[in-house]
Symmetry: D2
Subunit: 429 residues, 4 copies
């Protein structure tokens, strides 16, 4: 539930003085709003109290735009970990800038925010339709990436030197915060630089966006590991398939891949604590009754069971303890002690999941996401990211998107469906 004072309004660089060169498309009026709430019982009290209904600004092409496309340069940067579809987004942004608006100078900054720091010596790629045309077939990012922040002043210096007036930053929580700082620094200098965030998170854990690109591809790939675990588990006496999946703070990949073909018997997510005893007792019961079991565990689950350090990685995230190998050893030891012979197979697909090219759905999603990012930038919006809500693209202020991670609600429909699909008890304790 969001508090009522949330500000959904989007920052703009100024009035739109130029007609859009786009032909044939339907332009979006600036007053279009998409309701944040979808449930009648959420909205009724607000109506009764005559309060404003929280709503997103709608994304889409505007009839009048802020920048004169023939004059400007634009830049694209990709930060953080890989995710299926990054190249599709680079492609969509480039093609939209080029074909829809006629922009002719498009820079692809290399190695994440490092590429925006001139003294590090990374010459940007020049992006043209020919360069990007086929890149959607490839996983990864043709611009390469890096983790961690850089000094906003240095980055704005380089943007100014190159004459970049719209910067598209593709990345997750940290990247979006960095994008906000660039927008802030540009504003402080009185420069008309639009900074548009394009949310990338394979964990699907950015708030105010229902789905992020690459998530479906990642879930499908995660399911391949679950399929293998299930095949192994059923192929041996007392087979146990244990799969570790991505999901630092949010277990969406584990949860959604659990819903495919219901081959998972225990889904463990960071949002729902469990005890080792609870898991082992239920696992024992399952093996006794059915002769095999499959466990899907998100990497951030059960961290309270591990003695973890407080170290952080380059992106500023706490380093996680390895719940996968911990459970592998704990389960083996337990059954060795109880004398039940089991066949445990441990699978950690790790980077295979995030390196694949986008599936067709994600590829189309990336196209639309990229187009809407360009429309937002050309209209002079800044310090915002493109969201997706109720099947429509929206504008979301960056400080709203980065307030907190999106998580599975243990009381919500998704986790309830997990319980219904796995048959695991609500409390694994």
């Amino acid at each position: 539930m969001i508090d009522e004072e949330i500000d959904f309004s989007i920052e703009r660089l100024g009035d739109c003085c130029f007609p859009s060169p786009m032909k044939g498309v339907r332009f979006i009026g600036d007053r279009g709003r998409l309701l944040y709430h979808s449930r009648y019982e959420e909205i009724q009290p607000l109506i009764n109290a005559s309060k404003d209904l929280p709503a997103f600004e709608l994304a889409g092409p505007r009839e009048r735009i802020f920048f004169n496309p023939v004059d400007i340069s634009c830049g694209i940067v990709t930060c953080g970990g890989l995710c299926p579809g990054i190249n599709d987004v680079i492609r969509a942004v480039t093609l939209s800038l080029y074909h829809h608006y006629g922009v002719r100078r498009i820079y692809g900054f290399r190695y994440g925010y490092e590429g925006l720091v001139k003294r590090l010596g990374n010459t940007p790629l020049v992006l043209t339709p020919d360069v990007v045309n086929q890149i959607g077939e490839l996983g990864g990012t043709i611009l390469a990436s890096s983790r961690g922040p850089q000094e906003p002043a240095e980055m704005v210096d380089y943007l100014e030197e190159l004459g970049v007036t719209i910067l598209f930053a593709i990345g997750g929580d940290g990247t979006l915060k960095g994008a906000g700082k660039i927008a802030g620094e540009a504003a402080r200098r009185g420069r008309h630089i639009s900074v548009i965030g394009i949310p990338k998170t394979i964990d699907n854990d950015i708030s105010f966006i229902q789905t992020t690109f690459g998530f479906e591809t990642a879930v499908a790939e995660a399911h391949r590991a679950i399929y293998a675990a299930h095949t192994e588990a059923t192929g041996a006496r007392n087979g146990v398939g244990l799969v570790k999946l991505m999901g630092r703070d949010s277990g969406f990949i584990a949860a959604h891949s659990t819903l495919i073909n219901s081959q998972v018997n225990f889904c463990l997510a960071p949002e729902v604590p469990f005890t080792l005893e609870g898991l082992l007792r239920n696992l024992n019961e399952r093996l006794t009754q059915r002769g095999h079991a499959v466990i899907a565990v998100a990497e951030g689950a059960g961290q309270e069971l591990l003695a973890t350090t407080m170290e952080r990685d380059a992106s500023g995230n706490f380093k996680l303890g390895d719940i996968g190998t911990y459970l592998r050893e704990a389960i083996k030891e337990h059954f060795a002690n109880t004398g039940m012979e089991i066949n445990l197979k441990y699978i950690d697909p790790s980077y295979i999941i995030r390196s694949q090219p986008a599936n067709p759905h994600d590829s189309a999603f990336c196209l639309l996401l990229g187009h809407n990012a360009v429309h937002a930038g050309m209209s002079g919006r800044t310090n915002m990211m493109v969201g997706f809500w109720n099947h429509q693209f929206t504008h979301v202020p960056i400080n709203l998107a980065t307030r907190q991670r999106k998580k599975i609600d243990p009381e919500g429909w998704l986790w309830s469906s997990i319980l219904a699909s796995t048959g695991q008890p609500r409390e694994l304790i």
Copy 2:
């Protein structure tokens, strides 16, 4: 836009006297409603006029249920054309009835509504977890299907004889209408038979449901044909790839597969008329400038160009003229006349698209759809179908769902995105 008198209320067989045997899940209260509208500007006038906001009843498990699961028999029937995911739905319904509620007699009627007519001699399959466990890996329907209606009285006779009190009908527009008639006949006889529709339409053209199962799989498969057309077109001088895709009344498959990798230059849908001259003129221009072109045409597009009969098929649909071969010949003839040598490759993937197993996304969607259908039936709802709206499952009265086909709005975001992606003019005339 819907008119204001629409009735979203769901028919119920009576009070729920039994506690649900489900453990651990979150039960849905009967008052949960999901707003039909999502745009602020649609809802504001209704608020100002103090009108009710149209809203769907939410789907999900209820704390109290109408039927005593240990007493009842249930039935499943699959009608109409194939669609990826039917077996996943059969599986989800069977497993939910069995494991969530403890139902032990589940019939799979064979060959569509024909299987509900006793005199035709189709003995139903008995469905158990063992029978359905692996069927999600297979395309098609293990129950087989047929087209066209049967006599409601005969069908209710057989349901009564078998003691079936919940019937799940998986099918499209005609199937849902048939389900409504069965519900009506049962009501007329004062029998407590719940009839729950599960919407199946590869064309995604059922109203009041944002996405139907199998659609994503179908779009991905359609894209394979487009990929081939694009490969052929770029592999020869003045290559033209022409692909005919499903879509009788609604061009959703053609439109969504056009958005993948933007390889399509002309997307032709039933909702947006075009002239042969307009198409040929623009095609000529494209070939002259770029040396190749890809055309995706929905089977129902351009029917006004063809001299069609008024024949109907077994499902009562008008037989379409073959726009694919018409365009193939017309394009060949045109360029033969103008003296430009072209290389046209025509691809009609037809049944390949609908026969595939569901992709992981659709498979998970089918699981949830099936579960929610069972919850609806067990709670005594009837004469309704399960819908999906704003990422949540809903209850939709059958007569609402079948009022009219869902179509692409030529003024909406989807078609606008098609124009932006293809570069084709708004009017191909």
Copy 3:
């Protein structure tokens, strides 16, 4: 069976005066020979009669080479229809020339042999590692193709002008014959131009080569159509799935895809005549007993049933009559007459099959094929193609390879396996 006078010897431009710059690899001696025969009973009479055993020259890198790599230019041309893996071959040839031998001028001729005719105005692409690095992910050919011959004199003129001393011609029967003529014309002029054919035939119908690249990918794709046909056939009462597959003169694609999962009940190949009556009688029997049937028909099968013209296409092949639609109509009419209601679904996957990227197996095969073609060219071989026999790469004289099409032997193990898998009678008459 081959006649005894066949000449397996390979034409060479001259002595090899330069040391190979390749490091670390195993060089192949020039005397390595691979037996044509593999059966003891074939070889014993030759031994008894003290005759030579027919054998291919082995392919592979030579310690001494004919051309000085730093001096030369090479060219690649792709002709005829698409086939999975062409880009992999282009890539392998380019990378081997560049990295293994240090060749720095590599031309990619565009649009088949048309690209070798200067007056047609097709400037060749310049191929470098950067250009070809990722093309293996794409179907088709980045060089584009055309059908039909060009004048050898004109082509050799252009090769001479560009200084091309090794030409790699990727194509089928006609392309190889054309390559032979180029080699002949160069020899007539006393020019040291090596012409190396790389056999490409999706039908797998080139003699003296056991498998051609792309064939496995094509068979896998063909199986998708058969899968769909089977799914449709089992999904309806008296369902008949009819699939038309590639195979003008040789039914290898139909045969091999029939062996996958044994879903085909009648496999029809050009090599094995059948009558319509025979097919219909057996189909009727199958439907009566099992309720569904799947038919896979190669496009060249049953031509004797059709009234065909004697027209030829640009490649000089006779235009085939359409056996697919002929059977579709004949079967429908037959059962309409007999009063048995059937559900026939016709699938013609056509170009989808040949436009896919190579699967991993074919991709690796293309790599080795391309490498061996380069080794052959660098060693001054000419007027030959690279073959594959008994899991090893060979040199095959072009006039041997083009003597006759490879066909299914109706008395051999493949067709016997088809009969065993389908259960169809040996004679469908």
Copy 4:
């Protein structure tokens, strides 16, 4: 090179007194032999010395058979680790026994050789066409498996009790040896029990068979991990992708997946020793020159670098040290010491590779393999396995097949191609 005294002759239970019930197929004469050698230079000295040419007996259906199919029971057992295609083989054997020969009692023994020991209480499954029809779509084995030997006497006791006269044993080296012991025990007792081995080894390391089923599927799946490693490596500065693949004693999976798309820069196999220093020095050079690198290491490679125990697993194999994590840490430490910042991503796809369903090629191969196993058993062959040599199926005495593991020849064409593809030096020392 094989020594000359090798005995290729196949053991037979007795004379074939019954006519085969198979219709239409081509029967194989008992004198058909397939040459072991394929190179002229190997065979010429034998001819000169008037020695016998070593040759396999050809597999295939015989006109007369040993068993009367209507009388007998048959059994199938699957042992050892999973491999793509096991279910296809079970299916092919069952369908061939049933449809080709009319056998009506087919037992599927569960959990490997444990299922042949009655006192362990595993009731065999009864296999029918209905049971096996769709199992080719599933990975793993429907019969489940176990490792390690059982007492031959106990197993023959149970076979006798059940009246099983042909046993098909699907497994690797240990399984084949076990099969040989069963055959021996039956012979000792004077019982006519045919034991036919069907070679299963994901490592492709069984001698006298050129390809084993599932190998291509495994290589394609392994390539997905390499693709991910390459994507990660190119997506970061000094990216290193490190992939551990199956291959205890033979590096065929690593080698063949290295040949796909040439994304691997260092391929490490058990057959080719390397030093850590050699690898690191070359890796450093590669990173300095190209900025990224991909390493594929077979699990059995570099064992001499590890301090390993001499423990054995249930199959009797030595437990390997973990070369993957060893290299990961060693590389990280090395570059930390040298001060070069690298981004290493480690991928261990492990069980994902062997759990997939067979790809179309392997599926067809399994069909033919299963058919030929049945033909061999029905003809009274025993103590043999079905092989594949020079594109033809053969009979191989079990003691020949299990004499030694097949390995990559570091002087042969495969490793030479690896060197040519990766550019790695012949000696990584």
